[in-house]
C-alpha cells in the first residue's frame, strides 16, 4: 500500500467498515476442508496438531490458511517456535512478513501467557505455540482467549501428549504417509461432527 494511502487510512475523519470475522477459515486443501466441520479451520477456537516429531509437515499444512490471514492484515504470532521461522520460505508461501510477530521465550509459562495475551488482543489472526508440558487448565484458558479474541489458536504437540479431556475444539494427528510424494496423512481425533475421519493430502513443494 502506498504511503499516501496509508496516511489517508489513518485519518481520524475517515471511517472504514470492517467485515465481521469469519468463523471458519478454508484450509486450502479441499480434501481436508471436507473432513472438517464448517469446511475449514475453526476461528475463535483451539486447534491441536499432534506430530510424531517436529517438522513432519505440520507447518506446510497450515501455510495456506496463515497466508490468507496475513494478507488480510491479521497478525500471525509465533510463540516460542523450536527453530527460526525462515522468512524467505514464509514469503515464498505467500505470507505477508509485516504481519508476523516472533516471540522468543524458552519458558513454558511465559509462552502460554504470551499466547493468551495475543489471542485476547483481537488483533491476531492466528497464534502458534509449541509448549512442552501444559496443563489442561491452561489449555482451557487458551480456548477461552481464542473465543474472546476471535483468533485461531494453534498448538503443536508431540504425538505422545495425553489427549483426555483436552478442551481443543479440533484435534488432528499428522503423519507423513508416502514421504517421497510429499503426502501427509491427517486424522481427525476430535471435532464437532465426525471424528475419526482420515485424509491423505499432498503438500506443495
Amino acid at each position: 500500500m502506498s504511503a499516501a494511502l496509508a496516511r489517508l487510512r489513518r485519518h481520524p475523519a475517515i471511517w472504514r467498515r470492517r467485515l465481521p470475522p469469519a468463523s471458519v477459515l478454508p484450509t486450502g486443501f479441499p480434501a481436508l476442508d471436507e473432513m472438517l466441520p464448517g469446511a475449514g479451520w475453526p476461528m475463535g477456537a483451539l486447534t491441536e496438531i499432534l506430530v510424531p516429531r517436529a517438522g513432519a509437515g505440520e507447518l506446510r499444512l497450515v501455510m495456506p490458511a496463515l497466508a490468507d490471514l496475513s494478507t488480510r492484515g491479521r497478525w500471525l504470532v509465533w510463540v516460542g517456535p523450536p527453530y527460526v521461522p525462515y522468512a524467505p520460505a514464509l514469503e515464498a508461501r505467500g505470507i505477508a512478513l509485516s504481519r508476523i510477530l516472533w516471540v522468543r521465550s524458552d519458558n513454558t509459562a511465559q509462552q502460554l501467557w504470551s499466547a493468551e495475551q495475543a489471542l485476547r488482543s483481537g488483533a491476531c489472526g492466528a497464534v502458534l505455540t509449541w509448549p512442552t508440558r501444559v496443563h489442561q487448565r491452561r489449555l482451557r484458558r487458551l480456548q477461552l482467549a481464542a473465543e474472546s479474541g476471535g483468533a485461531w489458536a494453534l498448538l503443536f504437540r508431540r504425538e505422545t501428549s495425553p489427549g483426555d479431556g483436552s478442551p481443543a475444539s479440533l484435534r488432528l494427528r499428522v503423519t507423513p504417509a508416502a514421504p517421497v510424494a510429499n503426502s501427509l496423512s491427517v486424522e481427525v481425533l476430535k471435532c464437532r461432527g465426525r471424528p475419526g475421519a482420515r485424509a491423505e493430502i499432498i503438500l506443495d513443494e
Binding site: A56, E58, P82, R99, L101
Partner: protein
C-alpha cells in the same frame, strides 16, 4: 443576561474578545450581537484542604490518625489532618501538643513545602485538560477559567462531575467554588459553599455568608473587624465605605471589590513546562509492588492530564525508583505508538516490575518524559467491532515487550542475500519494507532454520541423523560472501529421513567437508 456580562467584563483583567461565528445566519441579526456571542467568564476554584497530607502519598490519608505539622518544638501547629484524626477532634491551626492529647496514637509528619509546591504545579498542568487558563493559588488551591470550556464538556454539571471524579482518582480531596469572579469562586470554595453561582447579580448574596476566617486578609484587619462584631463577608459589605477606608485599611475595600467583580483581579496563567518530570515520596520504605503502583497511578494520571492539554502522547517514559543507599533503579518503558492512556502505561509498568528484582526498598518514585509527540484522536468503529477484528496490535507488542524484553518480541523480514543465514533478519514489528528490492526468490527453502547449523555425524561417509538420510534433491551450490570475511562454499541437499521428515542439509566444500543440518521443511 446583558447586565451580567457587562459587570463580568469589568471584573476580569483581559478585554472581551468577540467570537466570530461563520455559520450562516437563519434568524434576523439582533441588535446587540457582539455581546451575545461572548462567552461569559466563569471561574472554578479548587481548594484542597488536606493537601499537605495528601501530597505525601495516597496511602497516608487513609491509614491511622495522621496529621501534618508546621514549625518546630512547642510552637508547631497542625496544617492538615486525616479523616481519623479529625474525628478524634484534631483540626487545622491546633497546637501539635494539643492534637497529641486528643489522639494519643496520632502520627505526626513535618510539612514538606517543596513537595507541596511541586505537586500544585503538577496539578495545574493536569488541570490543563479542562481549560486553557489555570492559575495557581498557593499553597493549596487552583483557579480554572471554565466559561470557555462549558460548550466542549457539555455544560457546567457535566464538567464539574468530570473534574470531581478525576481529582478524586488522583487521591486529593477538593472543595469546589464556582463564581463569575476568581476571588468569589475561591471564597465559596474556602467556605464550602459549593452551590455554583453563575450570575453576577447573585454573587453578593451568596458571598455574604462566607465567614471572616476564610478571607485571606492580614490578621490585624481581621482582628479589628471582629472587635466591632463583624463575622461574615456580608457584614463587611454593609459597613460605610469611606468609614472602612479611614478606620481599617484600604486593602479591605479593594479585597471586597475584587470578590464582587467591581475591581479588576488579574490572575497569572500557569504555563506547564515543556517536559514532564515529577517525583513522589512514598510512605516509608516500599518493597511491595502494589504500593508502588498506587503511587505510579497518581503520576500517570497527572501525566495523562498534562498530555491531554497538549493533545500529545508519549512514546518513551522513564521511571526512577530511588533507594536510600544504592543508586536509583531506572526503568525505561518504550511504546510502539504514542499513548496517553494512564491505564495502559500503568499496565506496562506492572509487567516491567514483574521482571525486576529490587535491590533495596524504594523511597521515592520519579517519572520523566522528554519528548511529547502529537497524538491523533482515535478512530472509533461505528459498530464497535474494534475488539473483534481490529484490535490494537501495538498495545499487544508493548505488553509482550514489557514482560519479555524488547529483543524477545520481533518482526521478520527478508534480506537480499544468497547466504541462507543472512537472507533473513529481525525487524520492528509491523515494519513493511516499502520500496525494498524483491528478495532473491529461491524455491526449496525450509520453513525452519537452525541458527547456528548443527554438525551431523557421518556413518560410512553418509550423513546420519537418528538414522540414515537419503539425499532426494540437490546439490544446490551456494558460494558467496568473500567480501565480508564470512564467505561460504556449500552444497545444499534436501534429505529424507525414514520417519518422513525432510531436512535441509549441506556439505562444506572446504576443509573437513563436514555435513551440517541447516533446516527442516516442517
Amino acid at each position: 443576561m446583558g447586565t451580567d456580562l457587562f459587570s463580568g467584563a469589568k471584573g476580569t483583567a483581559s478585554p472581551l474578545r468577540p467570537k466570530i461565528d461563520l455559520s450562516p445566519l437563519k434568524q434576523p441579526v439582533p441588535f446587540n450581537l457582539p455581546f451575545k456571542t461572548v462567552t461569559p467568564r466563569l471561574w472554578l476554584a479548587l481548594y484542597l484542604p488536606r493537601f499537605p497530607l495528601e501530597v505525601l502519598g495516597p496511602e497516608r490519608a487513609t491509614a491511622l490518625p495522621v496529621a501534618v505539622i508546621s514549625g518546630t518544638g512547642a510552637g508547631s501547629v497542625v496544617v492538615a489532618a486525616g479523616v481519623h484524626a479529625e474525628s478524634a477532634g484534631v483540626h487545622v491551626h491546633m497546637l501539635a501538643s494539643a492534637a497529641c492529647t486528643l489522639a494519643p496514637d496520632l502520627d505526626l509528619t513535618p510539612r514538606d513545602e517543596a513537595a507541596e509546591a511541586a505537586a500544585l504545579e503538577s496539578l495545574a498542568a493536569w488541570a490543563g485538560q479542562f481549560t486553557s487558563f489555570v492559575s495557581l493559588v498557593p499553597p493549596h488551591g487552583l483557579l480554572l477559567e471554565i466559561g470557555g470550556s462549558l460548550a466542549l464538556f457539555g455544560g457546567l454539571d457535566t464538567l464539574l462531575a468530570r473534574v470531581r471524579h478525576a481529582i478524586a482518582a488522583l487521591g486529593y480531596s477538593a472543595r469546589f467554588g464556582v463564581a463569575p469572579t476568581p476571588l468569589g469562586a475561591w471564597l465559596l470554595a474556602r467556605a464550602a459553599l459549593e452551590e455554583p453561582v453563575t450570575a453576577m447579580h447573585r454573587l453578593p448574596a451568596c458571598l455574604a455568608a462566607v465567614p471572616l476566617d476564610c478571607l485571606d486578609l492580614p490578621a490585624r484587619i481581621v482582628e479589628s473587624l471582629r472587635s466591632v462584631g463583624i463575622e461574615r463577608f456580608g457584614d463587611c459589605c454593609r459597613l460605610p465605605r469611606d468609614g472602612v477606608a479611614r478606620r481599617t485599611d484600604p486593602r479591605l475595600l479593594a479585597y471586597l471589590d475584587r470578590a464582587l467583580g467591581k475591581r479588576a483581579d488579574p490572575r497569572l496563567p500557569y504555563t506547564p513546562p515543556p517536559t514532564f518530570q515529577r517525583r513522589l515520596s512514598l510512605p516509608g520504605e516500599v518493597r511491595d509492588t502494589g504500593t508502588l503502583l498506587i503511587a505510579a497511578q497518581r503520576l500517570l494520571l497527572e501525566l495523562a492530564g498534562y498530555l491531554q492539554a497538549r493533545a500529545g502522547g508519549v512514546q518513551a517514559l522513564e521511571w526512577h525508583l530511588a533507594h536510600r543507599r544504592r543508586p536509583a533503579t531506572r526503568l525505561v518503558i518504550e511504546l510502539v505508538t504514542p499513548s496517553r492512556d494512564a491505564g495502559h502505561l500503568l499496565m506496562l509498568l506492572r509487567e516491567r516490575l514483574a521482571r525486576v528484582v529490587l535491590a533495596e526498598a524504594v523511597v521515592y518514585l520519579g517519572i520523566r518524559v522528554r519528548d511529547i509527540l502529537p497524538l491523533a484522536p482515535s478512530n472509533q468503529d461505528l459498530y464497535g467491532e474494534e475488539g473483534v477484528t481490529g484490535g490494537d496490535w501495538r498495545a499487544l507488542v508493548e505488553r509482550l515487550r514489557a514482560r519479555l524484553g524488547k529483543t524477545a518480541v520481533q518482526g521478520l523480514a527478508v534480506s537480499a542475500e544468497h547466504r541462507p543465514e543472512k537472507a533473513w533478519r529481525c525487524c520492528a514489528p509491523g515494519e513493511s519494507p516499502a520500496g525494498a528490492p524483491p528478495s532473491v526468490h529461491t524455491p526449496g527453502r525450509p520453513l525452519w532454520l537452525l541458527d547456528p547449523p548443527e554438525v551431523l555425524r557421518t556413518v560410512a561417509g553418509e550423513p546420519f541423523l537418528e538414522g540414515r538420510l537419503h539425499l532426494v534433491r540437490g546439490p544446490e551450490r551456494i558460494e558467496s560472501g568473500w567480501w565480508d570475511g564470512h564467505d561460504i562454499a556449500r552444497d545444499y541437499f534436501e534429505a529424507l529421513h525414514a520417519s518422513g521428515t525432510r531436512y535441509w542439509i549441506y556439505r562444506e566444500l572446504r576443509k573437513q567437508r563436514a555435513w551440517y543440518l541447516h533446516g527442516v521443511f516442517a
